[in-house]
Amino acid sequence: MIKYLLPIHRLLFLLLLLLFFSMVWVYLSFIKAMYHTSTGVKNIEIGQIRRCATTIDGTLRMYLQPTDNLVEEIENNPDLRKKLNRVLELFVSREIKYVYVIYRDNKGFYRYLLDGSKSPKERGELNQIFIPVNTVLWRRCFESGKDTYAIQRNINTLWLTYLHPIYLNHKMQAVLVLDVSMIAYKKLKQTLAPLKGYLRYLLFFVLLVIFVTALELYLFMKERKLGRIDTLTHLYNRSYLREKERLINLDSVAVAMVDIDHFKRINDTYGHEFGDMVLKAIAKRLTTYTRTDDIVVRYGGEEFVIVFSNYHAKKNPEEVKKIISVAKRVQEQVSSTPVRVKDKQIKVTVSMGLDPFTYRRKTLLESILVADNMLYMAKRKGRDRVEVAKS
């Protein structure tokens, strides 16, 4: 169907495709840039959380005596625990959702030591078992004794969990935990979302334009094709041949004109509907017995033009004999079998005029005229035969 496109349309389509791929490239580059920006902003956010953890650690130390066993000290001093919980509570905000201290018991269980949660439902009690979702993070923190964090992928309400080891007497005794809510993450995403949205809309718009253009081109091609196809026989019509003429190399084709013998009589005897069926049958036979490279055209009425392709009589005169035999074979095959239409079977023959010297003609039309003269001769000589131009 592409062949029905005008060069300007092809160019337009290519330009649109180019535009689309450019947009995709811009979008992907933007995503990449956004990732870098997001990582940068995330690092800034994490830096703030780290500073906050250090501040909390420092504040807790103001209330704690140097001890080798922080857990025991807090267990034995409920007032101190209350005070420390209140300190942690001060740091709870919309962004830092939970602040608490966890220790690891002798059996390896993680347990609550302090908790700044305001809600009793959320507050972990002293020595209550704590089950982390990301075990690797916790193991890493307790084993390395360094600040660690992880993005929470399994908890919907939390974005990040930050662990800060608490050292007393040069011994890591517990871990201060800061659970950062999705608000911080959403804030981060919201900053970049408009740009992303804008690009998406742009990409969508380009896609829409491409779609509409492609649809228009398709309809155009369809319309164009319909204008070049004979609706009865589904063969190409004369308009197609006229358009194609300038593209046909006369040095490599031979032209034949075919006419159904006594077609008027068939129409008069059996009616026009029957005549149409005969036309269809003959057209089908012509297409079947010629090669796919050959062009079969309904030239008008019961006349057909065959343009035999890949024929090089100019270079090789022997090809003339070959094309004559091909033309004769086609004519014989078309005429040999009776045409069967609606339980009726009639013998239909065709006459053919062949111009094997198309390369000598100035235009395709001239060759068609020569073939037409030969056809006329074939009719005069009794029909059901092929007449070949001599020069």
Binding site: K97, Y98, Y100, R104, K107, G108, F109, Y110, S117, P120, K121, E122, G124, E125, Q128, I129, F130, I131, P132, V133, T135, R139, Q152, N154, I155, N156, T157, L158, D179
Partner: protein
């Protein structure tokens, strides 16, 4: 330490395995089903849910049927176990908060959400009292 890691990883896998649906309600339902079948060895376990805030909708799924009276249930899920009376007190009781678990000797375990995380605990003493043997994947949540 290894035990803790295994247990926590186990819980995570357990949670992840039931997280086919994204809804928290569905996760809770799946967990209730797992716990119910671990404690009561029946094809269909009747569960009495006393804590109405735990699940917004009680849907009978995966061999769990919710009953309206605790006396008809095989497993009881409540927030305050001591409020139960009569025969219900002798049945396996699960609580939906840590306070309820700690303040009473009745619960066989607890399942609740805290700080966005699920917490699952089984009480060893009560498991033995009820002659319950937990499947291997849940044994790591047993505490003394």
């Amino acid at each position: 330490m290894k035990r803790v890691v295994c247990s926590v990883a186990g819980l995570f896998i357990l949670i992840a395995s039931v997280c086919v649906a994204i809804s928290l309600e569905q996760i809770k339902l799946q967990l209730v089903s797992i716990i119910a079948h671990a404690i009561v060895k029946k094809k269909v376990v009747k569960v009495y849910l006393g804590d109405k805030g735990f699940l917004a909708k009680t849907k009978n799924v995966n061999g769990v049927v919710f009953v309206k009276q605790c006396k008809d249930a095989d497993l009881i899920i409540v927030s305050k176990p001591d409020s139960l009376r009569g025969l219900c007190r002798d049945k396996p009781i699960f609580v939906t908060n840590y306070r309820g678990y700690r303040s009473s000797n009745l619960p066989v375990g607890a399942l609740f959400w805290q700080k966005g995380r699920p917490v699952l605990i089984f009480r060893k003493r009560n498991l033995e009292r009820l002659h319950v043997s937990l499947p291997k994947n849940l044994k790591d949540y047993v505490v003394d």
